[in-house]
Symmetry: C2
Subunit: 218 residues, 2 copies
């Protein structure tokens, strides 16, 4: 009954085998949430994708929800790293929008945001899940807020907008855009929005140059 992580390593073969199975299950769970949604992400369906037995879900993760949360953790870590490095170099609204659109395009194709959206939707039928998701969502709103602050540091827009509020809206927009894109199986509306946002950001940069920040050195 020893659980992995608390169990002592008996042999490196067993350890690597266990880790491989865990990883296979996590990746299968991501795929199941993406392709079949929360309602379709059952232990059986996930195990079938992972090519292993259904019982291993409960051995490794305690419950189906436990595995789904592990899947979200994996996706979240992966994407947060990706966004961080990419957005880190962005200067100004226009560049930020371009970079964000590029990575969100990856998200749409890989269904990473869908994993989150399905879990949030599923939370209303699973007591306790909502609180776990809220915890995992916090780093994302914090990240969005920081990215916006950094990109607008030289712009009068920075003092005009409320950071936390806009960050919340961006996260909400990502969620909603992903859901609509999945539903209509059409990425073009999202692409149009990226282009529109890019135009507006460029426009704001011009306006910022016309009416420079008082703190800025001439």
């Amino acid at each position: 009954m020893a659980r992995p992580g608390t169990a002592s390593r008996l042999s490196s073969d067993q350890a690597t085998s266990s880790a491989a199975t865990r990883q296979a299950l996590v990746e299968a769970a991501i795929g199941a949430l993406r392709d079949e949604g929360f309602a379709g992400a059952s232990a059986r369906s996930i195990a079938a994708r992972a090519g292993c037995n259904q019982g291993l879900v409960f051995y490794h993760f305690g419950s189906v929800v436990g595995l789904l949360l592990a899947a979200l953790d994996e996706v979240s870590e992966l994407r947060l790293a990706r966004y961080s490095t990419a957005v880190g170099g962005a200067r100004g609204p226009s560049e930020l929008v371009r970079v964000a659109a590029d990575i969100f395009r990856e998200d749409l194709d890989a269904g990473y945001v869908t994993v989150l959206a399905e879990l949030i939707a599923g939370a209303s039928s699973t007591p306790g899940l909502g609180a776990e998701l809220a915890k995992r969502l916090a780093p994302w709103t914090a990240f969005a807020e920081q990215a916006i602050r950094d990109a607008l540091v030289d712009s009068p827009l920075g003092t005009l907008l409320s950071g936390p509020t806009i960050a919340h809206a961006i996260v909400a927009l990502y969620l909603g855009l992903d859901m609509l894109t999945q539903l209509e199986a059409d990425r073009r509306p999202a692409e149009s929005l990226f282009a529109e946002a890019q135009r507006l950001a460029a426009l704001f940069e011009v306006l910022s140059a016309t009416v420079p920040d008082p703190k800025e050195k001439p």
Copy 2:
């Protein structure tokens, strides 16, 4: 085996009784989607809410999904009427934003948007559901587009923005905002966003007055 609607009316008692049951089931389905999500909206759970037998779901609506779509139709019709009359009188971005925020507040409290969000999330596990939802979503994006066009008719912003793209983004934002609000059980972030949008809309109105539209009569 006659289905209601195709069956001839045998007596007015039976007809009203049937209609009452249908209505009770539809309203129970709305409540179930709102409170228990797609995964929790089973025939048994809905029938229990409606105070009737589980088999009636299949008698009246053919399947659970059939009932859920009827529930969405009810909500959609109800809310589209509400939005239409309220937005119809709005002139200018600022007033449009204020009116839209007021009604969306109702949506959040009553969980109307949640019904849609849960169905979209559930669509990935139910073949054919996605197409039905897409059909029912179209009037909303069309409505949003028209409302924006009307409100911006006297503003240079109208020519600056792409109608269909912004409408799509608004619908996405509504979906995402609702999901986050339900998840965190906290309406304050949404309220902050309403206030922020109101401020920006007012600002745009001032700018529009400063740089009037060339077509406008002086």
